[in-house]
């Protein structure tokens, strides 16, 4: 049997053997933990992605065994392949940390910082990145670039103001839909995702753009303002989708029995999980139309990083424990001191926000007047 040739690379003083042709970023991800550089634009399941955001910059202290000279500039680790005997410095290099701080500052220059409104808050890559690598204040005193928000199709809302131009959604439209029909128009400060994207909305897999977007530029319109991400409970679930291309394995974001949102199942790097070597993209039917728990076979609670706010205040049990009082009290139920629904207007039994296929408005709430004290 032919021996598979591997090459040795050292990242932050940790050595690992990888296959030739691996990028520094993927080699670092094999080591895992803090060694892996953050990535805003690179997406392993999208061909050709990467090299845009510059957050994954690393220092190459020695090029290879054959040529041990260091690379003069920091390199984008998602686009640089490893060489045998390469020595890479990521978090051990002050230059890298300083450069990354600068990159975060540039990414946030035009960002509106409207996290209290944004539906992405809590699972936003830019939020995590700026907490980890950014500075607290801004030095930018000029007017920020603004765009008018638009609905691209009934399901997706585009907030161009929040966009960091990572091109991930362009690759989704390019690789998951049949025709290439959109890109980024204009240059520099005026660069914007073109409205051609709305034509790609017809395609069954356009909803995956929402999941690949590292910021809140593309958000699910059926979930818009319904709930904060960290109040919903993520559950792994699957169904037999009629679409042969659709993976059918998803994460449901539940609140009680209500399915507020359906997304692809993500791995520890925030990217779509791969099943049998295929990326687990899901179709729009699974994502937008199956908002009932009975449509799905629930497998269990999604594992959430313990540092994430999404894991806060969640119970791990799948089934509610049985009421014991009635058994002990010869079938008599405990006396209810107050039924919260008789007073509270929140989570009213007659009103399912998840059933409304657009953001809730004042008229929706007027139809269900609040109970009076």
């Amino acid at each position: 049997m032919e021996e598979i040739k591997t090459i040795k690379v050292t990242i932050d003083n940790i050595s690992i053997d990888v296959a030739p042709g691996t990028t520094i970023l993927n080699a670092a991800r094999l080591i895992g933990g803090e060694v892996a550089p953050p990535a805003m634009c690179y997406y392993s399941s999208l061909e050709g992605s990467g090299g845009k955001c510059r957050t994954c910059l690393v220092e190459v202290a020695a090029g290879s065994t054959a040529d041990p000279r260091p690379m003069p500039k920091l390199v984008a680790s998602c686009r640089t392949n490893v060489m045998d005997g390469m020595v890479v410095k990521n978090i051990t290099s002050d230059r890298v940390l300083d450069a990354r701080k600068g990159v975060v500052e540039f990414l946030l220059i035009n960002h509106p910082l409207d996290c209290p409104i944004c539906d992405q808050a809590g699972e936003c890559d830019l939020q995590d990145l700026s907490y980890d690598h950014g500075t607290e204040g801004t030095r930018y005193a000029f007017a920020r670039r603004t765009f008018v928000k638009e609905d691209i199709g009934p399901y997706i809302q585009l907030h161009m103001t929040r966009c960091i131009l990572c091109y991930r959604c362009v690759y989704v439209a390019n690789q998951l839909t049949n025709e290439r029909m959109h890109g980024i128009v204009d240059r520099g400060d005026h660069a914007a995702i073109s409205t051609y994207i709305s034509r790609a909305i017809d395609n069954d897999f356009s909803g995956n753009m929402i999941d690949v977007c590292p910021v809140g530029a593309l958000t699910d319109r059926t979930f818009r303002f319904k709930n904060r991400v960290w109040f919903t409970k993520p559950m792994d679930a699957h169904r037999d989708c009629e679409n042969p291309e659709c993976c059918g394995k998803v994460t449901l974001w539940l609140r009680g029995e209500e399915v507020f949102r359906v997304t692809t199942r993500n791995d520890q790097w925030g990217e779509v999980q791969r099943f049998d070597g295929k990326a687990g993209w899901i179709c729009n039917t699974c994502r937008f139309d199956k908002k009932e728990t009975k449509d799905w076979v629930i497998e269990g609670l999604t594992t959430i990083s313990r540092h994430s706010v999404i894991g806060a205040n969640k119970y791990k049990i799948l089934e509610m424990p049985k009421e014991t009082i009635a058994n002990v009290m010869h079938g008599r139920d405990p006396r209810l001191i107050m039924d919260i629904h008789s007073v509270s207007g929140v989570n009213e039994p007659g009103m399912d926000l998840s059933d409304i296929n657009r953001p809730a408005t004042s008229t929706d709430f007027e139809q269900h007047p609040q109970p009076k004290n």
Binding site: W230, A312, P359
Partner: protein
């Protein structure tokens, strides 16, 4: 047994003498202490006519703030609810429609906002968590009531009076701390 502290006093078991058995001197001694308090400063006040000043860090009933034009500050971002250790705060958000700009400051607002005062422990973490200057713990007590349901405060009960429609009540709701801030900025 060895005493744990040096404040321990051993009880005297010796029989009382004649003067002590009379009890009268002891009663007079006690009365002197009692009546001397008539001439001391009164520690109580006649509430509610008189009130004591609150400490600057007093944390009372929550109030939902409005801006100068009377628009609600709250955007239902949920940070108060996730910060709340007692899980007393619940809310539901809605999207602002064209024509509602005078009511809500931003495109998202809290259509329903409730604080369960039976749960609230007045820790003030909601005020600390709020990025929109929308929730404050005021200088008011939560009124007592006989019914539990009176303690579920909805948005209308929590909102500060409108600064333009009802400027007097608005000023009163701002309380002493706001007055202090005014004089601070003037100086």
């Amino acid at each position: 047994m060895q005493a744990l502290t040096n404040r321990v006093k051993t009880v005297s078991r010796k029989p009382m003498n004649f003067l002590e058995r009379l009890y009268i001197p002891a009663i007079i001694q006690g009365m002197i202490i009692t009546f001397s308090h008539i001439f001391k400063k009164n520690p109580t006040i006649s509430y509610p006519e008189q009130t004591r000043p609150f400490s600057p860090v007093f944390r009372g009933l929550q109030i939902l703030n409005r801006d100068e034009e009377g628009r609600e500050n709250c955007t239902a971002c949920g940070l108060c609810a996730v910060a709340c250790p007692a899980e007393a705060i619940t809310m539901e958000a809605a999207e602002r429609q064209p024509g509602e700009e005078h009511l809500y400051r931003e495109e998202k607002y809290a259509a329903r906002y409730e604080i369960n005062m039976l749960r609230c422990i007045f820790c003030g973490l909601c005020e600390e968590a709020c990025p929109k200057d929308a929730i404050y713990l005021s200088e008011t007590f939560t009124p007592a009531d006989y019914q539990r349901k009176k303690f579920i405060y909805n948005k209308q009960e929590l909102l500060i009076p409108h600064p333009k429609e009802d400027p007097e009540a608005y000023k009163k709701a701002l309380g002493n701390r706001a007055k202090q801030q005014d004089s601070d900025t003037k100086n």
